[in-house]
C-alpha cells in the first residue's frame, strides 16, 4: 500500500497496470460485462423496451416466450397474467434492482464507514460503543425486521431503500474498523500526526485512501445483498408494490401459475441470479486485484 503511494510511479503507469490486472482476471471481466450491460439496459430502458411495461392487454394474457410454439416475436419473453409485455417489465425491473441495491449500499456505506473508521481510529470508548452497536444490529433478524417495518410504514421504493440502508451497515462497520485499525499503526500516520496534521486531515488524507479498496469490495457485496433482500421482500408482498416491475414481485405474481407456465418465474429469477452473480464476481475480482492477501 505504501508502495503505490510512492511518487515515482506515475498515474498512467498505475492505470495501465490496473487494466492489465483486470484483463487477467476472468471473473472480473465476466462480472463487469454483465453489470455494465444491465446498467446500460436500465438507463436506456425507455429506448430499448419494446412495449409500455404497465400497459395491460387482457386479450393477450400469458402469451409464452418466443421459443415456445405458441409464442410470437411480438412479445419475445411473453406476457404476464395481465397481458403486460414481460421483456419490457424485465427491462424496467433492472432499474428498480439497481436503484435499491445502490441506494441501500450508499446509505449503509455512509453509516458503516463512519462508525467503523471512528471505532478503528479512536479505539477505547468509541470502539466499545461501535462494537456494541454492531452486535445489537447482528442480533436482530434482518428479513423479519425489514418486513415488519415495511408493513407498518407502508411499502414503497423509498421505504425499502431506507430500511435496507439502515439495516445493512454492519459489514461496512466491521471491515472499516479492522482496516482502519491496521492503518492507524502505520508509520505514515504517525508521521502525519507528528508534523501537526489535524485529526480530520489524517482521517481524510491518510486513512481513507488506504481503506478505500476494502470499501469498494464491501460495497459490491452489499449492493448484491440489498438486491436479493429487496426481491425477497417484494416476493413476500412487503417490498416494492405493484404495478412496479420489481423482479421479486414478478416471481411472486407468476408463482400461482408456475405449475403450468414455469417460465413466468424462471425469467425474472434468472435475471436476478445473473445480476447478483455478476456483482459478486466483480467484488471478488476487486478484492483479488487490490488486496490479494485477503483472498480466502
Amino acid at each position: 500500500m505504501s508502495l503505490s503511494n510512492s511518487a515515482n510511479i506515475n498515474r498512467s503507469g498505475k492505470l495501465s497496470s490496473l487494466i492489465k490486472k483486470v484483463k487477467g482476471h476472468q471473473g472480473m471481466i465476466i462480472g463487469s460485462v454483465i453489470v455494465i450491460t444491465v446498467i446500460a439496459i436500465a438507463l436506456l430502458a425507455p429506448l430499448i423496451a419494446p412495449h409500455d411495461p404497465y400497459h395491460q392487454d387482457l386479450m393477450r394474457r400469458l402469451v409464452p416466450p418466443v421459443w415456445d410454439s405458441r409464442g410470437s416475436w411480438e412479445h419475445i419473453l411473453g406476457t404476464d397474467h395481465l397481458g403486460r409485455d414481460y421483456l419490457s417489465r424485465l427491462i424496467y425491473g433492472a432499474r428498480i434492482s439497481l436503484l435499491i441495491g445502490i441506494g441501500a449500499a450508499v446509505i449503509s456505506g455512509i453509516i458503516g464507514t463512519f462508525m467503523g473508521v471512528m471505532a478503528g481510529y479512536f479505539g477505547g470508548r468509541v470502539d466499545m460503543v461501535v462494537t456494541f452497536l454492531i452486535t445489537v444490529r447482528l442480533s436482530m433478524p434482518v428479513v423479519l425486521v425489514a418486513l415488519a417495518v415495511v408493513a407498518i410504514v407502508g411499502g414503497s421504493l423509498q421505504v425499502v431503500v431506507t430500511v435496507l440502508g439502515l439495516l445493512l451497515w454492519d459489514r461496512f462497520a466491521v471491515v472499516m474498523r479492522s482496516s482502519t485499525l491496521q492503518i492507524r499503526s502505520m508509520d505514515y500516520v504517525a508521521a502525519a500526526r507528528a508534523v501537526g496534521c489535524s485529526t480530520s486531515r489524517v482521517l481524510i488524507a491518510e486513512v481513507m485512501p488506504n481503506v478505500v479498496n476494502n470499501l469498494i469490495v464491501i460495497t459490491t457485496i452489499e449492493i448484491a445483498h440489498a438486491i436479493i433482500l429487496e426481491a425477497a421482500l417484494s416476493f413476500l408482498g412487503l417490498g416494492v408494490q405493484p404495478p412496479l416491475p420489481s423482479w421479486g414481485l414478478m416471481v411472486s405474481e407468476g408463482k400461482d401459475m408456475m405449475l403450468f407456465e414455469p417460465w413466468l418465474i424462471a425469467i425474472p429469477g434468472v435475471a436476478l441470479f445473473m445480476l447478483v452473480l455478476a456483482i459478486n464476481l466483480m467484488g471478488d475480482g476487486a478484492r483479488d486485484i487490490t488486496a490479494p492477501e485477503n483472498r480466502n
Binding site: 447482528l138 442480533s139 408493513a151 429469477g269 452473480l277
Partner: protein, 305 residues
C-alpha cells in the same frame, strides 16, 4: 475463564436489553398502533376504546417497562389476531422452526466441511475449482426463487417430494436444502482457508515427517485446529437461519415460527411481531454467547486479551 464468562454474560445481557427496546420501539413507527390494530374502517370510538384497553395512551417508556417486566416473566402479551398468549403461540410453533434450523445447519456442515477440506488438500485442483464455483453460485441464488424452482422440478415434474406442509420428514427435505445452502458457501470458504493455513504449519510437517498416516495428520492434527473458527461461524449462521426461516416457511407452508411471523406481519398483529423479533434475537444472542465461550475454552489466547 470465569472473568471472561462474566464479562461476556454482562455484554450479552446489555445487547438483549437494547434489542428488546428496539423491537418494542419499532412498532411505534406507525403513528398510532391503535389505528393500525383497529383497521381502517374502525370508528373513532372503537380506536379510543382500543387505545384505553391496551394502554397506548400512556407514555412510551412506561409502556416499554411494563412490557419488559412481563416479557421477563415470559408473558409477551396477547395476540390481536389469534386471541391467545403470544408466548404460548410462539412456543407452539418454535419446535418446527428449530427442527428445520437444526437439519439445515447439519446439511450445510455436512456439505461444506468435507468440500472445504478436499479443496484445501489440493488447491487449484478440479475439486477446489468446483467448490469455488458452487460457493459463488450459491451466494447469488435467491432462496425464494431456488425454493420455487425446486418445487417445480422435484414436486411437479418428478413427483418426488410433497410441496407443502410439515407432516412427514419428506416435507422437510426441500426446506432444509433451501435454508441450508445459503450458509454453505461461507462455511466452505472458512474451512478451506483454515485448513490451508494449518496444513502449512511446522507441526503438520513434523507429523508428516515422523511418518504418520496422511489420514491421521489430516483429521487428527489439521482439521481439529482448522475447525475452531468454523464452529463459531456455524453458530452465527444458525442464528441467521432462524431469522431467514420466514421466507422458506412461507413458501413451503411449514407452520413454524417463521410462518407465524409472516402471518402476524401481514395481519398487523403487533404483539406477536414484537415477541417474535425478541425471541429470534435472544436466540441469536444466546447462541453467540456460547460460541464465544466455546472459542475461549478451545483457544486460551482469546480469553486473555
Amino acid at each position: 475463564m470465569l472473568f471472561y464468562t462474566l464479562k461476556r454474560f454482562g455484554l450479552a445481557s446489555l445487547v438483549a436489553l437494547t434489542v428488546s427496546f428496539i423491537s418494542f420501539g419499532l412498532l411505534y413507527l406507525s403513528s398510532d398502533p391503535a389505528i393500525a390494530m383497529a383497521g381502517e374502517t374502525a370508528s373513532d370510538a372503537d380506536i379510543e376504546a382500543i387505545r384505553k384497553l391496551y394502554g397506548f395512551d400512556r407514555p412510551i417508556l412506561v409502556q416499554y417497562f411494563d412490557w419488559l417486566q412481563r416479557a421477563v416473566g415470559g408473558d409477551l402479551g396477547k395476540s390481536y389476531y389469534f386471541r391467545t398468549d403470544v408466548s404460548a403461540l410462539i412456543g407452539e410453533r418454535l419446535p418446527t422452526t428449530m427442527m428445520l434450523g437444526v437439519s439445515a445447519i447439519t446439511f450445510a456442515i455436512l456439505f461444506s466441511v468435507p468440500l472445504g477440506v478436499a479443496a484445501a488438500i489440493r488447491p487449484n485442483s478440479i475439486i477446489d475449482r468446483v467448490a469455488l464455483f458452487l460457493s459463488v453460485m450459491g451466494q447469488a441464488l435467491p432462496s425464494f426463487w431456488f425454493a420455487l424452482m425446486l418445487i417445480v422440478l422435484l414436486s411437479v415434474n418428478l413427483r418426488l417430494l410433497p410441496t407443502s406442509g410439515s407432516d412427514t420428514w419428506l416435507h422437510f427435505v426441500m426446506p432444509t436444502v433451501v435454508l441450508g445452502y445459503y450458509a454453505a458457501p461461507a462455511i466452505m470458504r472458512l474451512t478451506r482457508t483454515g485448513m490451508l493455513e494449518v496444513l502449512s504449519t511446522d507441526y503438520i510437517r513434523t507429523a508428516r515427517a515422523k511418518g504418520l498416516r496422511p489420514v491421521v495428520v489430516l483429521f487428527k492434527h489439521a482439521l481439529r485446529n482448522a475447525i475452531i473458527p468454523v464452529v463459531s461461524l456455524a453458530a452465527v449462521q444458525f442464528g441467521f437461519m432462524l431469522g431467514g426461516s420466514i421466507v422458506v416457511e412461507t413458501i413451503f407452508a411449514l407452520h413454524g415460527a417463521g410462518f407465524l411471523a409472516w402471518e402476524s406481519i401481514t395481519r398487523n398483529d403487533l404483539p406477536t411481531v414484537q415477541g417474535l423479533i425478541l425471541v429470534f434475537s435472544l436466540f441469536y444472542i444466546v447462541l453467540t454467547f456460547f460460541a464465544d465461550l466455546l472459542n475461549a475454552w478451545l483457544d486460551p489466547r482469546i480469553r486473555i486479551s
